[in-house]
């Protein structure tokens, strides 16, 4: 599903250049649940951003589901993001003046799907995460776990090939974290490829593979026996 070879990325900070990714090679197959770990500054978020087409890489190659991803214009990138990728963020990033349903609808709106169809579809995904009865509540009326579940429904509604989760449990307590991870595991069981960026050991144990980054290179890449979240 994802093939990355010799990936380099550096940022210009003033006159200095900061080399963040120093030649990464990684291959992720369809249906994997991968935890990307590393301390802050290790390059894990940068890697996720490049995979998520939120950022461009400098050198190397990146292939997503057979499509070679190079520097492209924003319109094209927006289309690819919408079609191939779903995002889940640490701080949920729901639009606070839209209710849960309208937040889930948003990716479909940008696909130009008719109102009736997308409402039906969004409601289905919202009930999949167990929030059918909360569809007309605004984000500030929901708990953290509920918000993250709305965000997961929003990421899933466009039926992406890969789900990218950047510290999805970072803002949640341990019980809620487990619930969210349980949901992620279920989605993974259904066949979705998922990348989870985390620095929490027990969260990484709930994945099927752990990739550890340090100073822009992969220092460890191992398959593990997956722990059940609940």
């Amino acid at each position: 599903m994802i093939k990355i070879k010799n990936l380099h990325k550096s940022y210009n900070i003033g006159k200095n250049s900061l080399h963040v990714l120093k030649g990464l090679d990684i291959e992720i197959k369809e249906g994997e649940l991968v935890a990307i770990m590393g301390s802050s500054g290790s390059g894990k978020s940068t890697l996720l951003n490049i995979i998520g087409m939120l950022d461009n890489h400098d050198k190397g190659s990146y292939e997503l589901d057979g499509v070679i991803i190079k520097k492209m214009n924003e319109t094209k990138a927006a289309e690819y993001r919408n079609k191939f990728l779903g995002f889940v963020f640490q701080s949920f990033n729901l639009i606070n003046y839209k209710n849960a349903l309208d937040n889930v609808i948003l990716p479909l709106y940008y696909q130009g799907i008719s109102r009736k169809v997308r409402e039906k579809k969004a409601l289905k995904y919202l009930s999949d995460v167990g929030l059918k009865n909360w569809s007309h509540h605004l984000p500030n009326e929901l708990s953290g776990g509920q918000k993250q579940r709305v965000a997961i429904a929003r990421a899933m509604v466009s039926e992406p090939k890969v789900l990218l989760a950047d510290e999805p449990t970072g803002a949640l307590d341990s019980n809620t974290s487990k619930e969210v991870m349980d949901l992620i595991q279920k989605i993974n069981k259904a066949g979705k490829t998922i990348l989870v960026v985390t620095h929490e050991h027990d969260i990484s144990q709930m994945c099927s593979r752990i990739v550890k980054l340090k100073d822009g290179v992969i220092v460890e890449d191992k398959k593990i026996k997956q722990k059940k979240a609940l």
């Binding site: 939120l54 950022d55 319109t75 993001r81 079609k83 995002f87 709106y109 940008y110 929003r154």
Partner: protein, 421 residues
């Protein structure tokens, strides 16, 4: 363009407008105020314009009065301080030598400029009114309306020195019973019997006229008041295309020649050039319209810049939201369109409200000044092309000003917008 007609676009826009209610209202007040000032100013200046035109409508717009005074310079053997008197013989000379003159109406008057008026008696009622001796041409220069059933003095009245009179509205009220038809009735002026042939309508603006004035034929007046060939003053009008200021000079030169006045003596003849005043007034009104246009447009501009400003701030505020939308697959053009439509929509709504309020204000000013007949303010309207002009100006400027925040929103990189603080 397609986005304009999609329900969803509008839902997104209303969502963001509702979210920022106070911001929206303050922004709209800026534009609303601008267009309100524009409409009110344009309408008011139009009202003044109309008012001036109405005030001058009772008199030919290129007419002038000329009268004689004392000379200030000795000339041709005559001493200075000699009283000049104009005569009926001057009329033909003026007409011959100044071809731009269309009508000349010599007038004599008793009852203005300090002289005593005529004592008028009708049955048991009496009154004192200004009596004018007039040529039939008078009505061509001072456009006076005579009420139905009556007529003005004609050439036959002059030739036969008929004792006929055209009376004013006040004269009618004071001397006649209500519902009494004055036409064909007789009144006494200074003990001479006159037949009433018409009632003239009085209109403000023609100078020293009054609604009690009585007009009788010049020839008859001459006999009644023993004025002989002498004329109190001339009223004349030039052809439409003539330059009234130039005409005044020419007429004065002719009169100076006839009456042996030094050509450089500017005391001997008095003149009041209505045409010149009229022109000046029209120019003033035009200037006022122009000024109101400039001020109005500048105010609209300020309002629209205000909208741009607020949208700019709101784009900064919404950087994160825009980033989320971009991550979810919003194309740059979709983001741009939304902000542009928001800008234009706010501008137009505020503009329309401003137009409505401005119109209401104009309407109430009109109502308030309706009864003030000597206040030159009539029918304050704003030409429809002014309104459409203002609206399209707003749409164009709203779009242009919206482009700035829209471009900034597009330039927001999703990754930067989403970066955790």
């Amino acid at each position: 363009m397609k986005a304009l007609f999609q329900n969803d676009t509008w839902q997104e826009i209303f969502g963001s407008i509702q979210k920022n209610r106070i911001r929206t209202i303050i922004t709209m007040i800026g534009v609303l105020w601008g267009i309100f000032i524009y409409i009110t100013l344009a309408g008011t200046s139009k009202g003044l314009d109309n008012g001036f035109e109405k005030a001058f409508s009772s008199i030919s717009s290129n007419s002038l009065f000329i009268w004689a005074q004392q000379t200030s310079l000795p000339y041709a053997g005559y001493k200075a301080r000699r009283q000049i008197r104009l005569t009926t013989n001057d009329v033909d000379v003026i007409k011959k030598k100044v071809p731009s003159i269309e009508y000349v109406a010599p007038r004599n008057v008793a009852g203005v400029f300090g002289s005593s008026g005529g004592n008028v008696v009708k049955g048991s009622k009496t009154g004192t009114y200004a009596i004018y001796g007039d040529y039939p041409e008078y009505i061509k220069i001072a456009v006076t309306k005579v009420y139905d059933g009556g007529r003005f003095i004609n050439q036959a009245d002059m030739d036969q020195k008929r004792r006929v009179a055209v009376i004013g509205e006040r004269t009618l009220q004071e001397l006649f019973e209500e519902d009494e038809n004055p036409i064909g009735q007789y009144i006494n002026i200074n003990n001479v019997t006159f037949k009433v042939i018409g009632v003239h309508q009085f209109r403000q603006g023609g100078g020293f006229g009054d609604d009690g004035d009585i007009y009788i034929p010049f020839a008859t007046y001459k006999d009644l008041f023993n004025t002989g060939k002498y004329v109190g003053f001339f009223m004349m009008s030039a052809f439409q295309d003539a330059d009234v200021v130039e005409v005044e000079k020419e007429v004065k030169l002719v009169l100076k020649d006839i009456h042996n006045i030094a050509p450089e003596d500017d005391q001997a003849l008095g003149a009041f050039n209505l045409g010149e005043v009229f022109k000046k007034t029209i120019k003033f009104a035009d200037g006022l319209t122009f000024l109101s246009l400039i001020v109005g447009i500048a105010t609209i501009l300020a309002g629209i810049i205000g909208i741009g400003n607020v949208l700019l701030i709101s784009v900064k505020e919404r950087t994160k939201e825009i980033g989320i939308r971009r991550a979810l697959g919003a194309r740059p053009s979709q983001v741009r369109t939304q902000i542009l439509i928001e800008s234009v929509f706010l501008t137009i709504i505020a503009g329309i409200i401003g137009i409505i309020i401005g119109t209401l204000v104009l309407f109430s000013i009109n109502m308030a000044t309706q009864d003030l007949s000597d206040f030159p303010y009539t029918n304050p309207t704003v030409p429809i092309e002014f309104i459409f002009g203002a609206l399209s100006l707003m749409i164009v400027l709203g779009t242009l000003i919206g482009l700035i925040p829209a471009q900034i929103a597009v330039n927001v990189k999703p990754i930067e917008a989403l970066r955790e603080e």
